[in-house]
């Protein structure tokens, strides 16, 4: 197989299958959660749960207070650098936007590629920092499972291979790009089985948390 053939296949059947599998997996996971539901609260409520729930989806993006930020500073800073970098790379890189456009028929302006490149490096470095913390910090080492490391790897590889492709490093371009798309396909296929689902379920979790607290009149 030549590089071109590999790339063509990855861009076609490869990624399509992965994407469909991803969608099916995510939908299934969400159904598994939402079908369980929550029993109605019969207590004399102080406030609307749904309003507080929606608000918490937004407020939980920030740490609870300054002291919480101080206590968990490395986690929060590295976590945000990574997520912001990842968001910029996935959604604000022109080739990616063109891909979304071809599938969903909506597009939006992207950032200049050198800028996205910078954010890729931010994401990569912060991921390395997060991995380093996971293995060296006593608390995180205790909590971490194989799944944590697997999730890290399948998220790291697309970033790395995308960076290598853009800079024409390591392998001939077709192969490198093909491997990049393969790594994305791998991410998509593994995603629904792991904690990466938090990307979707955190909205539900935050909502429930906020609603439960809001009914008692407490808002974070």
């Amino acid at each position: 197989m030549s590089g071109a053939e590999f790339l063509l296949w990855m861009r076609g059947p490869g990624i399509s299958f992965a994407a469909l599998f991803f969608i099916a997996g995510v939908v299934l996971r969400l159904i598994e959660i939402l079908m369980l539901g929550r029993t109605k609260n019969l207590a004399e409520l102080r406030g609307s749960g749904s309003t507080a729930g929606m608000r918490t989806i937004a407020t939980r993006f920030l740490p609870a207070d300054a002291n919480t930020f101080r206590r968990s500073l490395p986690t929060i800073v590295l976590g945000y650098l990574f997520h912001i970098g990842l968001f910029v790379v996935i959604f604000l890189l022109t080739p990616h936007i063109k891909l979304f456009q071809s599938v969903f028929h909506i597009g939006w302006p992207g950032l200049p590629t050198p800028v996205v490149d910078f954010f890729t490096v931010v994401a990569l470095v912060s991921m390395l920092g997060l991995l380093w913390r996971r293995v060296s910090n006593r608390l995180l080492r205790f909590l971490s499972t194989g799944e944590d490391y697997l999730s890290w790897a399948v998220t790291f590889m697309p970033l790395l291979t995308g960076y290598l492709s853009y800079h024409h490093l390591l392998l001939p371009y077709s192969w490198m790009l093909g491997i990049h798309i393969l790594s994305v396909a791998l991410l998509l296929v593994i995603f629904p089985f792991t904690k990466l689902m938090h990307s979707f379920t955190l909205f539900i979790a935050r909502y429930y948390n906020g609603a439960i607290a809001g009914e008692k009149g407490v808002q974070q």
């Binding site: 207590a43 904690k195 935050r206």
Partner: protein
């Protein structure tokens, strides 16, 4: 409590898994922030006290039975079922080192209400026979005798007699149609009898008709602490029956944290229907009286004071402002701890921990968080609104040779109460 067994425990644990629980387990990314917010972790440095980790058996059950991948893993023999040994191993972290304080639920970045889950996990633990001895004893006494400490009506009546001698006022029992029905915690009756006298005087001054039911005067709910909803429902049911029989408008829970949560927030859900009366914490009632001008005080405390927020009342109960409003009536030297209100640090003894002898050592270790808060603030008096917090604070202060007296708000207000001679009665409803 009927005969516990692993099977029963797992069945009950399975029933506890609802939408929120599934969403929470799905979202956890093992970031460790919940540990950094938990005083049992911060004061020991031991990762096994990580809040989400306390739920591991429940998580495994959820994974193997409520997720597609988990069910495949189970089918392939890669997801072992929960064992007796596992639950036994988890008992100390679920009961000794968690007060259900809720701080973890406030900081989790993906929004997990871990406390909600630990409350549910305890249902499975108790049903499988893995609850602490101290709690089992307290719960059994609560069901059989009406009080976890064996406090009987006679005890309460004796206190009422003291109040009469001391103030000339009657403590009204079983008055139908009273506006308020007061329930008390055994702890208060046994250790802080000042509370009963304080509310008697305050209600008399405010002209409010109130009563205590001889059939249900116990506010605490061991069922909530140990995690047996049937018992929790039974205990709530007694209060509900008495309140509805006497046709009172509001039931007042005392200076206790979990009694409020148990009755107001869990109560109707435990018995399966809304109440025909309101539930208010004594501080809410006093704050209302203050607003209506029916609570008049004179004089100010000069000491530098701060308030320890009982977790179940403030963060988990929603009664945040009333203690502050009330304290500002009698103090112009009231300073807040840095982490206060809904972000306060737990005293270390709630959620059944103080009734659990096995937890004595870690409970006192956890107090060091509060010690650090107090030392940095340099206060002369510590005020709180929960008898259990109070005992823990006093013990911790004593153990650490700090010289800070601890006082309850109601008692403090009563000390400054403006009282009119009993010849002019004030408004009567």
């Amino acid at each position: 409590m009927t005969q516990p067994s692993l099977e029963k425990g797992v069945n009950i644990l399975r029933e506890q898994i609802d939408g929120p629980v599934a969403a929470f387990f799905s979202s956890c990314v093992h970031c460790g922030m919940c540990a950094e917010a938990c005083l049992f972790y911060t004061e020991t440095g031991d990762p096994k006290y990580t809040p989400i980790h306390k739920l591991e058996p429940m998580r495994r059950l959820w994974e193997r039975e409520f997720t597609f991948a988990g069910r495949i893993k189970k089918w392939l023999g890669l997801a072992p079922p929960i064992s007796d040994e596992e639950l036994e191993q988890w008992q100390p972290v679920v009961y000794d080192s968690c007060t259900l304080c809720g701080r973890c639920s406030m900081v989790c970045p993906v929004g997990n209400d871990i406390t909600y889950m630990i409350r549910r996990m305890r249902e499975g633990m108790a049903a499988s026979g893995n609850a602490p001895q101290g709690l089992i004893g307290a719960t059994t006494r609560a069901v059989k005798l009406g009080s976890p400490m064996g406090v009987k009506l006679a005890t309460l009546e004796a206190q009422a007699r003291h109040v009469k001698i001391s103030t000339g006022l009657d403590v009204p029992f079983d008055e139908e149609g009273a506006e308020y029905m007061v329930v008390l915690s055994s702890m208060e009756v046994v250790n802080y009898p000042e509370y009963l006298e304080a509310i008697t005087r305050i209600f008399h001054e405010a002209g409010k008709r109130w009563t205590i039911s001889t059939e249900a005067f116990e506010a605490t709910n061991s069922g909530i602490q140990i995690g047996v909803s049937d018992i929790a429902a039974e205990l709530v049911g007694r209060i509900v029956a008495a309140a509805e029989k006497l046709q009172v408008k509001t039931v007042i829970t005392p200076e206790c944290g979990h009694a409020y949560t148990a009755l107001r927030w869990e109560g109707p859900n435990l018995i399966g229907r809304p109440f025909l009366f309101k539930v208010r914490h004594i501080l809410e009632v006093l704050d209302d009286l203050r607003e209506q001008g029916l609570l008049q005080t004179s004089g100010m405390e000069n000491d530098r004071i701060t308030f320890h927020d009982p977790c179940q009342l403030v963060r988990r109960g929603g009664v945040v402002d009333p203690p502050r409003n009330l304290l500002n009536m009698v103090s112009n030297n009231f300073v807040e701890m840095e982490d206060h209100g809904t972000m306060n640090w737990c005293c270390g003894a709630g959620g059944g921990v103080s009734a659990n002898e096995a937890a004595d050592e870690i409970r006192l270790k956890a107090f060091k968080r509060k010690k650090a808060q107090l030392e940095s603030l340099e206060v002369e008096t510590l005020v709180t609104a929960c008898a259990n917090c109070r005992i823990q604070l006093e013990e911790g202060i004593e153990e650490n040779e700090m010289e800070i007296p601890v006082v309850g708000i109601t008692e403090m207000l009563a000390a400054h109460l403006v009282e009119h001679p009993s010849s002019d009665e004030g408004e009567q409803p």
